[in-house]
Amino acid sequence: MSGALAVFRRELKAYFYSPLAYVILTFFLLVHGYYFSLIVAYLSDPRFPGGKPLELFFGQTIFTWLVLIFAGTFLTMRLISEELRQGTIETLMTAPVSETQVVLGKYFAALGFYLFLWAPTLVYVGIIRYFTPVDWGPIAASYLGLFGIGALFLAVGLFASSTSKNQIVSAIVTFFCLLVLFSCGLMENLVNGETAKRVLGHLNLWQHMDDFAKGIVDTRRLVYYATVSGLFLFLSTRALAAKKWR
């Protein structure tokens, strides 16, 4: 597994060497800072009903999803596409590492950077905690949800990246797939069939995140993230192997 570790370390460093990472980090901080200040202003106003600030911060909001979908797209688009375009794939795939090791190394690097993106939000938790007691359960559940859904999105993005040597194409494919993945659950309320409603209800990521923010952890959802992530990672290894046959 030392090969996977070498890929992981290189890939994680590559994030910090590229300007893209800092653009994403800045965007992330701006969106979150703005949104957090909105929540605090909203809850401080006596005319509005009260609520839990962190529940609002993680659930019930399009901001979380914007960030998730953009991060899923931009963090993964170059992972394999760039190797294909630059031709570095040739030395990588003639080194004693398997496709699985390459895919896992890259995936965990993306996941690591993704978690790093969320790290500054712990400051908000600290700020809230300073002024008022907090319920740690829902907060832990929220981060678990962000981790699970992020892991799912990054796996989809990695697969898209393995299908094209063009980063822009990878990004567009990822963005489209993530939109479908995200919005198919929202169709729950639009279909009539009982079975369709139930199936889509299970896939409703918006509802998932909402529940995580309330502290509800449903293991079926975690299994869903894990299996679909696993599937896309497997597909990535196959796509990478298939590149050789062209």
Partner: protein, 318 residues
Amino acid sequence: MIEAMNLTRRFGGFTAVADVSFAVPEGEIVGILGPNGAGKTTTIRMITGFLPPSSGRVTLGGHDLFGGDVAVRRHLGYLPENVSLYPEMRVEEYLDYRARLEGMDRGAVRRRLPEILDRCLLADVRRQIVGTLSKGYRQRVGLAAAIFHDPRVLVLDEPTVGLDPKQIIAIRELIRELGRKHTLLLSTHILPEVELLCQRVLIFDRGRIVAEGSPEALRERWRGRGSVTVELAAAAPEAAAALAGVAGVEQVAAEGDSGARFRLDCAAGADPRAEIFQLAVAKGWTLLELAAARASLEDVFVRLTTRDGEADAAEEAA
């Protein structure tokens, strides 16, 4: 050490490499020669396990390279044709990464690094960012990465492309030195390089091996088909006709634009120089130049690769 058995590679309807077999025994330096599009790089990509063959097998030290065990590739060092590196990394960082991919640990990398930087003339750029290096330096970084883990087999696809003459000499010296310890497969356009370095040569054309042997043996085989250059102070048409009549001359080709300067292709084993001299004396022509060209590897190469082309064209016309 490396054995290729009946390698064939098709891309769609196009056959890039057709039924190529060869073996490189331990410790030998073998050169691959051939014009562009002859299938050299495709063959090398199959030999290194990057491109699976449409049919045939490659073994490295007796292990099938496409058998699913990636550890076999640890015995292999590879410098691809287009050396592509990660532009954002520093030289030593990149070498460290490549060595780690090969399974070396931190301590081993640290011990090996100074020696490699020194051998590949990279010591002065060790902290430089790869993207800012010149082509020659990048080539050497690629070579350093290929030999870092001390592989038993080295495959180098055009290792001296883009280097200046001084660097070429240094890299050739390095390759020759590597050849003492490693099995080496070298692809190149540059014929003197092959003559200088390789014990055996495979000449590729149109996806097949058209000749194989040591540079000396190949020259020997084609020596008879040498040529003679003649320059006479005489009327060109008359001289050409007379020269064509000399025994052993197969073809007379005018050389240069002015005067009677010819290149005569000779029959195998024939040396018409004495007769040409007699002819000049008899006709009263002044002989300005008379020289026999020894068949170089280049001649062998040109003959082999163009003759085949002409034969194919004739076939198509028929």
